[in-house]
Amino acid sequence: MSRVRRMVEPAAGGAGAAALAAARPAAPWCLGAGFLLPFALVVAVFFLVPAVLTVILSLTDVSVATGLRGFRWVGLENYQRVVTDPVAGLVLRNTLLYVGATLTLFNVGLALVLALATAFLPGRWGGFFRAVWLLPRITPSVVYVLMWKYFAAERPYGVINQVLAALGLPAAGNWLYEHPWPMVIAINGFVGASMGMIIFSAAIQAIPREQLIAAQVDGAGTWALVRRVVLPQLRWPALFVAAYQTLSLLASYEYILLATDGGPGFYTTEVWALYAFHTALSNYFGNAQYGLGAALATVLVLIGLVASVLYLRFFNFRQLTQQPRIEVS
């Protein structure tokens, strides 16, 4: 007999029954813990331990030159170096610009537009367009960025400039280097928009049809329908997408690394995560500074935590997740 069955079956009288009755309150806790244990282990090994290791690393001067055996404990020296780093302010501003613009214009903005647009299309066509927008996400990042590079390259290699020349318009130089921020934001945004699009589409489809019909009967046009009925019901998915994508964007650097490597010029598109990567793991002449890089990564984690708290307060998380007071059938 399984342990679960023993826990739920009534015992047959006597002292045994009393013992079981006494044990009963603990049973659901054990069951829950049993189910949670594998996930808790995964979280501990893959999320908690690396975070703790990163904090420990950040208190050392470990680098290629010291090796992992010759390092010293330096306390908060690395954090002091981050604070006094003449480049840190610029990198932080870049990060805010990158996260804010990509999130607003693409991950939430374009995603919402796409979800609404495809919601008003017949089912099959809506699905087709949503599938097309998923293509950047399933393309390997190296290939995807390489495609953009040749798209943006100078004449006679770049597609944009070839098209401009064919139309008799003046061709520019390399778009990636002449307009780095719009390009970097677009490269990331086209990938990021698909996730929000799917979540918003699912949320729109979950809105009871009766509400939409009732609004139309009351004379609501399309814009009023979207503004008064659809958008208010997307607050919770919008919170989730905004919070999740903020954290993802804060930690993401691979597309920028491949597209501009933080350039052109003086840290023009260098974001905090890329700065940490360059410091800790990628240095042309080999002396990567793991300790300082870890301090930069820890600061990024703190920024992420602060952003999460702000989101929860701004969107009034408690109110969004409480049980509905009125059941609409």
Binding site: P50, G67, L68, L76, P264, G265, L281, G286, N287, Y290
Partner: protein, 488 residues
């Protein structure tokens, strides 16, 4: 309160860290963490050559009591530079013959691969393998890696293997200087090169130059009659006459690299203090270098977006004769012929000279960046690894590498090799070694380089004036390197 708490935590950690067992466990955990991080930052799931190369030396019993030792090597370079690995492979037979003659009961075989990948990825792979104790026996890299890798204990000194070898006397002495740190030899030179200023003779003819004037240009640069300012003026003329497009009168390499220090050297810059070994930043020389690049941008002969251009586009543009004057490596001629369709006639049309000095009367400069073989601490047979490298370092093998890849001779005896003598380019470039500088051997050179390159990027992109860029670089170096850099 925060200070007290922090000091408490750090003090506690310090006490814990003094425990050897804990330090070992922590080191192992950190390696695991770094491996995970590197995996996340990697560029794909393809099994890398370094994985095959990793694993340290192995050995197995053979016939008649003869033991076979497997050595592993990691080398990097373009396909034309494959002899960096193949020379080691072919040296196995030479070494085994000697071992047999000596009556030794051991034979050697070699595993590993030659990788054509970005340098930072290659070095990162080695470091992670080394920290995990799985480094190959032999690693090839730039001579500047001697400093951080020796400090970290990843490589071993080779004096006892090298000093009595005939190879020691045959290698040009300056190359030994490039691998000597704290009085010890840490690597064996594999190749060296020059970084000429290239130009197309046909372009200069279009400008009205005579054959004699064109032939005299390298000598004028060598003697200091033609300076960096003259270079910009010539580049401007090539553009103004429509021989090359705007922004393509003068190009440097498009990515980070040691080439940029040639400009610093051209203005009498110094990188290291010989007395203390500390890095040096000469503000006046750096300002002059940055002003040169600012002027190039203002004249419109150098595109503000040059730094960051894709290498393949750069190669295609310069080999298409769309750039007037450009700085590149001597080895790139072989790459252009191999991959970019440069014909023999084009090579004949290609002129090359030292980089001009910044001021009249001073000789031109170049920069050499020897690649060297190093033996890792993780090798179970460092003696055999060192002997294998020495066997691979011979005039025939090094000449075939030099001719195939257009690298300069590292051995005096190579100059007498018929193949080497027949190669016009190598013969023409040989004199440049006398004018070559090296980047310093210092554990923090990578950080020094990053700050100076970013400052240069800011000037080329037009984001900062030369003065602002120098000021920023000085602040960065003072913040990062502290007393390891002397600001003059």
């Amino acid at each position: 309160m925060l200070d007290r708490w922090t000091n408490g935590v750090i003090g506690c950690m310090g006490r814990l860290a003094r425990s050897r067992a804990l330090r070992r466990a922590l080191a192992a955990a950190l390696v695991a963490g770094l491996l995970v991080l590197a995996g996340c930052g990697g560029s794909g799931g393809q099994p890398a050559a370094g994985d095959q190369a990793a694993g340290g030396a192995g050995s197995s019993g053979g016939e008649q009591g003869v033991q076979t030792v497997t050595l592993r090597a990691m080398t990097i370079g373009k396909p034309t530079e494959r002899y960096r690995f193949d020379n080691l492979k072919d040296a196995v037979e030479r070494l085994n013959q000697k071992l047999e003659q000596e009556g030794a009961n051991v034979r050697v075989q070699l595993e590993g691969t030659h990788e054509d990948r970005p340098w930072d990825e290659y070095k990162q792979r080695f470091i992670l393998a080394a920290e995990a104790g799985k480094a190959p026996d032999i690693i090839l890299s730039g001579h500047e890696d001697v400093a951080p890798w020796a400090a970290a204990g990843h490589i071993v000194p080779l004096d006892e293997y090298v000093k009595d070898s005939p190879v020691y006397r045959d290698v040009f002495p300056t190359l030994w200087e490039s691998v000597t740190l704290d009085g010890k030899i840490w690597g064996i030179p594999q190749d060296t090169e020059a970084r000429p200023l290239y130009f197309w003779k046909s372009h200069l003819k279009q400008l009205g130059w005579t054959d004699q004037q064109i032939a005299q240009l390298p000598e004028r640069i060598r003697s200091g009659d033609f300076t960096l300012d003259d270079l910009l003026d010539l580049a401007k003329q090539l553009q103004d006459r429509g021989i090359v497009p705007a922004g393509q009168g003068f190009w440097t390499r498009p990515q980070p690299g040691v080439d940029f220090y040639m400009f610093y050297l051209a203005y009498d810059g110094r990188m290291q203090d010989p007395a203390t070994g500390k890095l040096v930043l000469d503000q006046e020389a750096l300002l002059k270098e940055y002003r040169f690049f600012a002027r190039a941008r203002e004249l419109g002969v150098l595109k503000p977006s040059l730094l960051g251009t894709d290498w393949s586009i750069w190669h295609r543009t310069v080999t298409g004769k769309q750039v007037g004057l450009f700085v590149g490596g001597s080895w790139q001629v072989a790459e252009w012929q191999d991959q970019y369709g440069l014909t023999d006639a084009d090579v004949q049309d290609l002129g090359y000279a030292l980089l001009p000095a910044g001021e009249k009367g001073k000789p031109g400069v170049t920069l050499s960046h020897p690649l060297v073989y190093m033996v890792t601490k993780y090798s179970q047979h460092p003696d055999l690894a060192a002997r294998l490298i020495l066997e691979a370092t011979n005039p025939e093998f090094n000449t075939r590498h030099a001719v195939e890849s257009n690298h300069l001779a590292i051995l005096k005896s190579q100059l007498e090799q018929p193949e080497y003598k027949e190669n016009r380019l190598l013969g023409d470039l040989a004199y440049m070694v006398e004018y070559a500088g090296f980047v310093p051997l210092h554990a923090q050179f990578g950080n020094y380089d990053q700050a100076i390159y970013r400052g240069l990027s800011a000037v080329v992109a037009g984001q900062m004036t030369p003065e602002q860029a120098v000021d920023t670089v000085v602040k960065q170096l003072q913040a990062q390197l502290r007393d390891e850099v002397i600001i003059r």
